[in-house]
């Protein structure tokens, strides 16, 4: 346990071995001093005390004595067998039980005191060199004392004895917890002033849900967390919930990306979720939150990472069957042990106990990825006040453990009306928040997905359409036209209309080209025939010229012949060309 001030007050404390409590008190109970543990019936006083002694005997090498006023030691050991502290195998030299139950047939006459017991305990403590001692249910023996002053006297006697012997003492006594009458009413009130440390266990039932709280009321000479801290009694005993304190080392931050199980979502997120991140998927019922988390679980198992799937909504087998219909095959991984499906529908109890159970299961399964579907169950009736703190601790814990956490959360109408905040307000804590929505258009509902935030990631800010088919989960770009977002059939219609228009345009173009080709051909033909005609005309013209020349030549020859024949004189014939 890391103490906020290591070295300074650590040696003065005796570790209780109770997760959380040693952190609240900075190391445990005051060493060599007396601590008073008050609580109502069934609030866990005896278990706390036993755990304190077991820790001393097993881990700190400090022998302890348990003085049982209320129950027989045999019963106490038997009852604690389930916690795995192995009290039954501890030797009496390490942990000694003293049966100090007043005999039922005890008759009392006149005044008496506890010196007999203290003398005996002193001898025993010397013998086994005890350093820790528990007086369980001191109220039982005090009740035998006739009046207030004699009770006080015995408490003084006990306190002095403890101080004298330098024993770390823990005295438990029944009391109504914090909802107590005025302190002076009873000897414990007076005792609370006397002891060095007082711890109060509260057990309330809110709307049928049991809520346990622990509060350190005083701790002389030490800083401590004064607030009520929820705790549960789990299978390892006490488990006190503490939020991560500032002094504690931060969880290791990883740059590794893990797939969300949906390729296009990975692209939108710049590669997937961060390892160890907490992812919140919100949405109305039926927006495929479970499907998206199932896709994540499948991807995790495919990578060979042990995964825990906690379903508060339906049975594990139902979840697997339902996811099969969208192409997510989880059954094989559950068979191979890679995936653990936990149906937590029937688990009732405080949010705190659910968290502890989830933590225990995750540890047991050695999970690297965790799905909680839906995490909003934690805030159902009776847990409204504590749920937020529990969710905080859930995220803190998963981060510290390096577990990638995917939670779904039902966003009811109320939450939606409050501006998209989830009832648990874990949206502020989550690293990545994916919101699923319905878009109702033209008589159909389509799923839209958007990334509300993703810390440390450049992410797409576009709404995508989430399409579920038997082949799996895909995302489609939505069709935006004229400021309108189209999804589903409308998107398809719009897309196909566009396709048809394209085809028509293409056909028209082709037709035009053909027509032009034809016209071109016609013109070419005409050009050819004209050319031929031209050649013919030219030939004709040449022929004509030649004919003309030869006729003229013939004529002049004829005239010359005729002149020869007439014998006319040259002069006349020169004047008269006839």
């Amino acid at each position: 346990m890391n103490s906020p001030m290591p070295g300074l007050d650590q040696p003065l404390k005796s570790s209780t071995g109770i997760p959380g409590f040693d952190q609240i008190t900075g190391g445990g109970l005051p060493r060599g001093r007396t601590t008073l543990l008050l609580g109502g019936p069934g609030s866990g006083k005896t278990i706390f005390a036993l755990q304190f002694l077991a820790q001393g005997a097993r881990e700190c090498g400090q022998a302890g004595i348990f003085v049982a006023f209320e129950e027989s030691p045999a019963r106490i050991v038997a009852n604690s067998a389930g916690f795995g502290w192995g009290l039954d195998v501890l030797t009496p030299g390490a942990l000694h039980f003293v049966d100090a139950q007043p005999a039922p047939d005890l008759i009392q006459s006149g005044s008496f005191d506890l010196s007999g017991m203290l003398a005996g305990l002193g001898a025993l403590a010397d013998e086994i060199k005890a350093q820790r001692i528990v007086f369980d249910a001191l109220d039982i023996v005090l009740a035998l004392l006739p009046d207030g002053p004699s009770r006080r006297r015995e408490i003084y006697r006990l306190h002095e004895w403890l101080l004298d012997r330098q024993l770390t003492g823990l005295i438990t006594a029944k009391s109504g917890g914090d909802e107590e009458r005025s302190l002076g009413d009873q000897p414990f009130g007076f005792m609370q002033f006397m002891v060095d440390c007082a711890v109060i266990l509260n057990h309330r039932v809110t709307l049928g849900v049991s809520q346990r709280n622990l509060r350190v009321q005083k701790f002389r000479g030490s800083s401590f967390d004064e607030n009520e801290s929820p705790f549960i009694i789990g299978k390892d005993g006490f488990d006190v919930a503490v939020a991560r304190t500032l002094g504690r080392t931060d969880a290791q931050v990883s740059n590794e990306r893990v797939s969300s199980g949906v390729d296009r979502l990975d692209t939108m997120l710049g590669g997937g979720y961060y390892r160890g991140a907490s992812v919140l998927i919100t949405g109305f019922p039926g927006t495929a939150k479970t499907t998206l988390s199932g896709a994540f679980a499948e991807a995790a198992c495919l990578r060979g990472e042990r995964t825990l799937f906690v379903s508060f909504d339906s049975d594990g087998s139902e979840v697997i069957r339902n996811l099969t219909s969208v192409g997510i095959q989880l059954e094989r991984f559950e068979k191979s042990g890679m995936l653990a499906m936990i149906s937590a529908r029937t688990i009732t109890g405080s949010a705190e106990s659910m968290l502890v159970r989830i933590k225990a299961l995750a540890k047991e399964h050695n999970a690297r990825c965790l799905v909680i579907d839906p995490v909003s169950t934690l805030s159902k009736s009776g847990n409204e006040l504590t749920a937020h703190g529990v969710a905080e601790r859930l995220i803190d814990w998963s981060k510290a453990a390096g577990i990638t956490l995917v939670c779904t959360s039902l966003l009811d109408e109320m939450g939606g009306a409050l501006g998209g905040g989830t009832p648990l307000q874990i949206s502020t804590l989550a690293d990545t928040w994916i919101h699923l929505n319905y878009l109702v258009q033209a008589g159909e509902r389509n799923r839209g997905m958007s990334i509300v935030k993703s810390r440390g990631t450049a992410h797409s800010n576009q709404v995508r359409e989430l399409i579920l088919s038997e082949h799996g989960v895909t995302l489609a770009d939505i069709y935006t036209a004229g400021g309108e977002v189209l999804m589903g059939t409308l998107r398809w219609e719009k897309e196909s209309a566009e396709r048809v228009a394209n085809e028509v345009a293409e056909v028209a173009g082709q037709l035009k080209r053909v027509t032009l080709d034809a016209e071109e051909a016609v013109l070419e033909v005409r050009a050819k025939s004209l050319q031929t005609e031209l050649v013919a005309k030219q030939i004709e013209k040449t022929l004509l010229e030649r004919t003309t020349q030869s006729r003229e030549g013939e004529l002049s020859r004829v005239r010359a012949r005729m002149r020869e024949l007439r014998g006319a004189d040259a002069a006349r014939s020169d004047r008269d060309p006839e």
Binding site: V98, D99, A100, P102, A103, D105, L106, I107, Q108, S109, G110, S111, F112, D113, L114, S115, G116, M117, A119, G120, L121, G122, A123, L124, V141, L144
Partner: protein
């Protein structure tokens, strides 16, 4: 008192814590009672828990003073200074209860 010879002998063990006030009172009260009611037929063993703490512990004695009637049966245990004589007599079976 006419069956003195047949009547059983009473065996007592008184656990005391040193010379504490209530322990001293208890011893006085017991001796006085025995002298009056059980003359010649009682035995008293006094155990000081401060002297012999382990024994008292082994005997299951946590409060002092404690008186145990070992015989005759049934065994009885009374804690306190034995100052309420009527209660003591009733418990030890030395007086019918009315």
């Amino acid at each position: 008192m006419n069956h003195a010879m047949d009547a059983p002998c009473y065996e007592f063990r008184l656990y005391v814590a040193g010379d504490a006030e209530n322990s001293r009172l208890a011893a006085e009260n017991l001796h006085a009672l025995c002298a009056e009611r059980l003359p010649q037929r009682h035995r008293i063993e006094v155990v000081d828990v401060l002297q012999d703490p382990k024994r008292a512990f082994a005997d299951g004695i946590f409060m002092t003073p404690t008186l145990i009637k070992l015989a005759p049966a049934p065994q009885r245990k009374i804690i306190g200074s034995l100052s309420e004589r009527k209660v003591v007599l009733l418990t030890l079976g030395l007086e019918a209860g009315h």
